[in-house]
């Protein structure tokens, strides 16, 4: 199931092997997720240009299919661990966009009331166990969550998303070995968008496929998926989740995708070769899916209705965030410790 992948080849052959049939209800759900993520990220960017989003932010424009496909394969109760490029995965688990934008804007209505910011989106009630901004740190943590499921026999599976750059840090290797040795119900999903931060991953990695090329070292199957095709992602994720739930241990999936914007908002991504972005945009995950829906007989009006609905909700959320006040000063002092406060002495 491996596919060829190189920096110059912006249109890897889709590797949709025969798998679970995706019915029209599921397809429409995936499409809605794709549109929700695309529009929310675009809106985050617009708000940043209006200086309403401070600090930093890392967008997933172009990478929406990974989040949408994986989320569609997850069950309520399954857990997600994300990186600082985590808006997409947070939204995909059903976290209201208003809370995400509010957190980006540092408002009191934010997911963490402004205490975490863009890089730490967390919504435990939706199974989003956090977005981690230290590369690789969350892979071992995801192992721990999976260990709990295994120990208690609770049947949930933990998904852990990370970028290609993460495959070269120690924690990645510690976690994969640990998960394999303990046979933990965890699915590692690498979003290979060709660039670490500003440097091509291929220039800094000893093997051609940064994640899949390491799988065999931990006794795992080498899995590469077309990350622009949400259905392909869904099928690979579903298989891995089923395996984990059945006690078959961890999986490592490498999704080939592309980041339309720079690493963070301060990065204009000038290091990309000319034409690369345009070539990847030919395989835009939202467009691909829209065409597929139309080809499968879904009416244009149904699709347009989803798009209009998403935009309307987003506009409403944006207004709510603009109207929301800043977090109160008292929040400086809350939740350092479990007693709710900050006192380190008596």
């Amino acid at each position: 199931m491996a596919v060829q992948h190189s920096r110059s080849d912006a249109s890897p052959a889709a590797s949709v092997t025969a798998g679970e049939k995706i019915d029209s209800q599921l397809a429409l759900r995936i499409y809605r997720l794709l549109v929700e993520i695309r529009e929310a990220e675009q809106r985050a960017y617009d708000l940043f240009l209006q200086n309403l989003v401070k600090g930093t932010s890392h967008l997933s424009l172009g990478q929406e299919a990974v989040a949408a496909g994986c989320a569609a394969a997850m069950r309520p109760g399954d857990l997600s661990f994300c990186t600082y490029r985590g808006h997409a995965h947070t939204l995909a688990r059903g976290v209201p966009v208003e809370k995400v934008l509010g957190e980006l804007m540092g408002r009191d209505n934010g997911l963490m009331r402004g205490k975490g910011g863009s890089m730490h989106l967390t919504s435990v009630e939706h199974g989003v166990m956090g977005s981690y901004a230290i590369i690789g740190a969350h892979l071992p943590i995801a192992c721990g969550a999976a260990w709990r499921a295994q120990y208690k026999g609770q049947g949930d599976v933990t998904a852990c998303f990370f970028g290609d750059g993460t495959t070269n840090i120690g924690a990645f290797h510690e976690a994969l070995n640990f998960a394999a040795v303990w046979k933990l119900p965890v699915v590692f999903v690498c979003e290979n968008n060709l660039y670490m931060e500003y440097t091509p991953i291929a220039d800094m990695t000893a093997v051609k496929d940064p994640a899949a090329g390491r799988a065999s070292a931990y006794g795992l199957e080498s899995i590469i998926v077309d990350g622009q095709d949400a259905d392909a992602v869904y099928r690979a994720a579903k298989k891995a989740f089923d395996k984990a739930r059945a006690g078959g241990g961890p999986s490592l999936i490498e999704c080939l995708t592309y980041r339309y914007s720079g690493h963070s908002r301060a990065d204009p991504a000038k290091y990309r070769p000319e034409g690369e972005l345009e070539r990847w945009k030919q395989r835009d995950p939202v467009k691909i899916y829209r065409v597929r829906l139309l080809d499968s007989g879904v009416a244009e009006s149904v699709i347009a209705q989803i798009e209009a609905d998403v935009k309307q909700k987003l506009d409403k959320a944006t207004e709510a965030c603009k109207a929301a006040g800043p977090p109160s000063d008292e929040l400086i002092w809350t939740d350092v410790y479990a007693d709710g406060g900050w006192a380190w002495r008596n």
Binding site: L49, Q50, N51, A266, A343, W344, R345
Partner: protein, 442 residues
Amino acid sequence: MDVLMPQLGETVDEGKVLIWYKKVGDKVEPGENLFEIETEKVSMEVPSTVGGVLTEIRVDVDETAPVGAVVAVIAEEGAETATAPSAPQPVAAPGAGVGLKPDPQDAVGRASARQQPPVAPPTYVARKLEPFKEVFTPERNYGPAHVGDVQTTPYARRLASELGVNLSTVRGSGPDGRIVGKDIEAQRGKGTQPQATTRSSSGLEQIKALYEPGTYEEQPVDGMRRAIARRLTESKQTIPHFYLTIDLDVDALMAAREQRNSALPSPTTPKLSVNDMIIKAWAMALRAVPRANAVWAEDSILQLNRADIGVAIAVDGGLVTPVVRAADTKSVWDISRDVKDFAARARGKKLKAADLQGGASAISNLGMFGVREFSAIINPPQSTVLAVGAVQRRPIEKADGGVRFATLMTVTLSCDHRVVDGALGAELLAALRDIVQQPRLP
């Protein structure tokens, strides 16, 4: 809508426009590039977030604008008018803006903890922790660690203050003669009587080394001298002094004094002095400007409701400053009697501690020695002292440009700036001048 200079990075606070892709009047689509900017870190194209017509460019090519500044205005399609120009949104510098400033000194008193019996010094009293007060700082300070060549530990300084022990009377038993807590405890109950000290003193030796042996005679310093040295050093070091000088025309005052002395109540009644008259006038001035009749008390200012006036009296080996009570309500005759009583008792060393306390101001008069003007050091905790010079006939310019002679007295007011500001001090002196120049002294 306003197009703003975006923040091109977490630590960047301005950007330079490199290119405008659109000119005023051009139609703009959402997502279409509007302009390109550059900072020291990166350059980047900035697309429009709305569709409409570019109506205004406020930052031209090669110009630099702060993050958040309006660089252009787009009239949105469907919008009735272009948005009004708005001020640039201030962008907080990293770390600023949440008010993480150290708070002023905690106002919660620790006095209760400090007023326990001194034999068993107070144990630590825990307080409720507050934000920005994770560690408490002392409510007040207890004098300097070094006075002359003598060092005193912080604990000993506090204890001395609480027990009313005069540090100049204490002999230090710590390293290098340092005064430590047990030295103060040993003094407890002995009162504050001055006592000669033979404290070992490296400072003394150092200074003596500067003079040829035999060219001086060493005089031991007694308690009064030591107290004067300590108190006035402390005053000059801790009280922010400033000085105001004016000339008083005392012709009328001298005439009033003459008139009274020529009609003494009885042949044995002592004559009124100029100083008696000034004390009365000064007390009335302080009552007329009550805000200046006040003392600094660390967390508060105590505004006194009567005018007690300290009077500096020279005695053998030093000076004392007893306080005339309620001089504002006393007659000049009563004041005169009080001062003469103080002077007699001071010479006989019979003044009581209570005689030396109180008041917000004092008078020091060196006029009888022919001193024309001088400035005095405030006697803490008082907030002012009036230095009174000699009465002299001096030429002054008349209103018509001619010259006449007047009876003048120069006075200098030393003020504690924590209580008495310049204008308040000037107001107080103006009140004195009004009273002196139209004396209706009872």
